[in-house]
Subunit: 419 residues, 2 copies
């Protein structure tokens, strides 16, 4: 590299070169080089506003990252986890090449230091207190993500409007087929049959509740604190003439009352907060009949750790993905019996790839609904999530359970795989 | 009840009636009545040496327990968990009726107080220190149970000599069929294929290791610290001409070296001790190739709790059955990724019923090998284990896992259920 000669361009470009000390170009370059080194020197080239290029010595860069100004570079180097995402969203850094591949490299680079909660992570945990999932906190956190417009989600979630990991019997399945297959997989695990009473905690736009009623003849009470989602779900129930069998209740899972044959919760646990796991378990336990079954489907981790701080700050306030051991804090204090755990993380990568394809095709419309920063922010979130599941940074656990001494359980899981 | 008149018989029978105070018959009766009340008044009648009968007021007793002397009654009332088993083994109490049903009632009665570690349980935990699973402690503990004679086990374990939970594709399967089906179920979960290298921790009499070599073409190194079992397994390998592909090593799992495609451990974890879970995880992690898979099969619990103290004292010194949350202490510190957990506790009840049937048919021969106390002790252990699995007091977890970022995993579990 020729940092000295390029420092001229740097100075010209930014106009804020310090009067003395190391030349700014080489200083910024050194910082980025150290950052890359901490990530195991992935094949990534930085191109600065000055034209200066920082590339790994040993490999041909597959991805180029353009950094448009010095202030952005300093912010990204100081707090890469949050600032890279923000700078990408604002267009102050741009990525040429496969965004998913880039984030995958970063995740793999970070994996070596995973497992220890760094000082920064602990600080982040402390900061997250303002996002605590109290009754009011949960409403605020859920509103932030899920109430930004059903029309927006309809652009890329597909017909079912299911905003959780689908289940691909084969990789050739369409998104819609895989979402239906997921619902059937869940219903079979729960041995759902006509006349069963179901309570659902966190029902999204209502697709599973409606599916359980229309295809299995179940009676469903479905809880959700997202106003927009409940309004949409109620309208669907009316249109499908299922409103005599499916009731959508705009309330917190902690206010579930009554007893049911089945408890289901698909993609809500991420918003529950670890501090509420034992309470969730008590809610489940008191809601289940003697031979009751339940299933909780959630993003998880191989070991305890916070979600990516940019995701928690910009996308999912208050969110947390537990390890399987942490999930057991729901079930064990209440004595619930785990029957089956399935990790389908590769299915979430497939689901997200379908979502991202549709999202990118709809970016012009998203831009009109919101703005360009929003478009890039959500693109990064979807791409980053794919990388998370493909690198094993994120898992997807379906946990099937029953009451402590229920013997009316299938001998094998064969019934899940007979068509 | 007519305690006064019967106290005469009591005095005649034992010859040790106190000179004053409440009449002994009614005193013993009251103690037993309180014990029954603490267990929720199961339909059980006690018949004392004196002829005195203590029966529940509200139900017709299905089971009669004869107590042959006063000292036994006092011991059983003072410490029922250990003393009942000892008194049954010695013939000082006898059970008329279904032993499994009786223990099932006791387990269900105890379930209401489960989840809290009582003072007694904590004391037991302290006492168990002498059974700690250090390298030497493990050898002592394993020798106690597994080295009492291959001929004895051959009487009731069936041809495979597999001394772990079988897998019944249907309840009509024979014990032998179910043991073979278990091995195939495990091998399919592990995606075992020809040429794979396997390390097995705790291989019993070697049936799985030999099965993996003969049916799947794997190369297996199988560890076990039981001298008798390893001797038997080596002889089997020779007879089956598999000794070029299966190596039985009389050593502790902590001394496993090398790298393998597959790690398997069926029914060893119960003897590992919670204090060694993280170390077991490190052994597993360092033993697995990049795309390595592993399976641990173990008796478990719905929530943390000690095994029945009589079992730990008389049958399995140093044994512990973890909750799934506790099992995660093996995997999470090493970042291993859980793919699949299956709870097959009802299969262990079926397996044990087959074992108990064969055991009872062979009791005369067992009596000749040992003595009558041994015969009754093992009958109680097998019957009690059936009750444990049928009441949900005990679980059986098969936990399938892989390296943190292995993507060479099947998309679904369909392959386990295609024939």
């Amino acid at each position: 590299m020729n940092a000295n000669s390029e420092s001229e361009a740097f100075t010209d470009f930014t106009g804020d070169a310090p009067a003395s000390g190391p030349t700014p170009g080489s200083f910024g370059g050194r910082l980025l080089r150290r950052l890359l080194s901490e990530l195991g020197d992935p094949p990534v080239e930085f191109i600065l506003w000055s034209g200066e290029r920082i590339a790994p010595a040993s490999s041909t860069p597959a991805i180029k990252i353009r950094v448009h100004d010095r202030a952005t570079l300093l912010r990204v180097v100081r707090d890469p986890q949050v600032q890279f995402g923000d700078a990408y969203a604002d267009g102050r850094v741009e990525v040429e090449g496969d965004l998913i591949e880039l984030i995958g490299m970063i995740y793999r680079g970070m994996a070596s230091t995973e497992g220890k909660l760094s000082l920064r992570a602990r600080l982040a945990g402390w900061l997250r207190r303002s996002q605590r999932n109290t009754l009011a906190g949960s409403r605020r956190n859920i509103h932030h993500h899920y109430d930004i417009g059903n029309d927006f989600y309809a652009l890329w979630l597909g017909e079912t409007m299911a905003y959780t990991c689908a289940y691909y019997p084969s990789t050739a399945a369409s998104l819609e087929q895989a979402q239906i297959a997921k619902m059937d997989h869940v219903c079979r695990k729960l041995q759902l049959k006509a006349g069963d009473s179901v309570v659902e905690a966190g029902c999204g736009w209502g697709s599973l509740a409606l599916h359980m009623a229309s295809r299995y003849g179940a009676r469903v009470r479905a809880f959700n604190i997202s106003r927009e989602q409940v309004a949409y779900a109620r309208e669907q129930a009316k249109q499908q003439r299922l409103d005599d069998r499916v009731e959508f209740i705009q309330d917190d899972y902690r206010n579930i009352s009554g007893r049911y044959d089945v408890f289901a919760s698909i993609g809500m646990l991420e918003h529950v907060g670890r501090e509420n796991y034992a309470e969730l378990g008590r809610v489940v336990r008191r809601s289940l009949n003697a031979a009751g079954r339940g299933l909780i489907h959630s993003i998880g981790r191989n070991r305890p750790g916070l979600l990516h701080p940019w995701i928690v700050r910009r996308i999912f306030p208050g969110a947390y993905a537990p390890s399987l051991g942490e999930m057991m804090q729901i079930f064990e204090p209440s004595g619930l019996s785990i029957l089956d755990v399935e990790n389908i993380r590769l299915h979430y990568a497939l689901t997200l790839r379908h979502w991202l394809d549709r999202y990118r095709a709809a970016e012009d419309r998203v831009r009109k609904m919101f703005d360009d920063t929003f478009v890039r922010m959500w693109r990064l979130y979807l791409a980053g999530s794919i990388a998370g599941f493909e690198t094993g940074t994120l898992q997807l656990f379906q946990v099937l359970f029953t009451t402590p001494d229920n013997n009316r359980i299938p001998l094998t899981r064969q019934h899940l795989y007979s068509s």
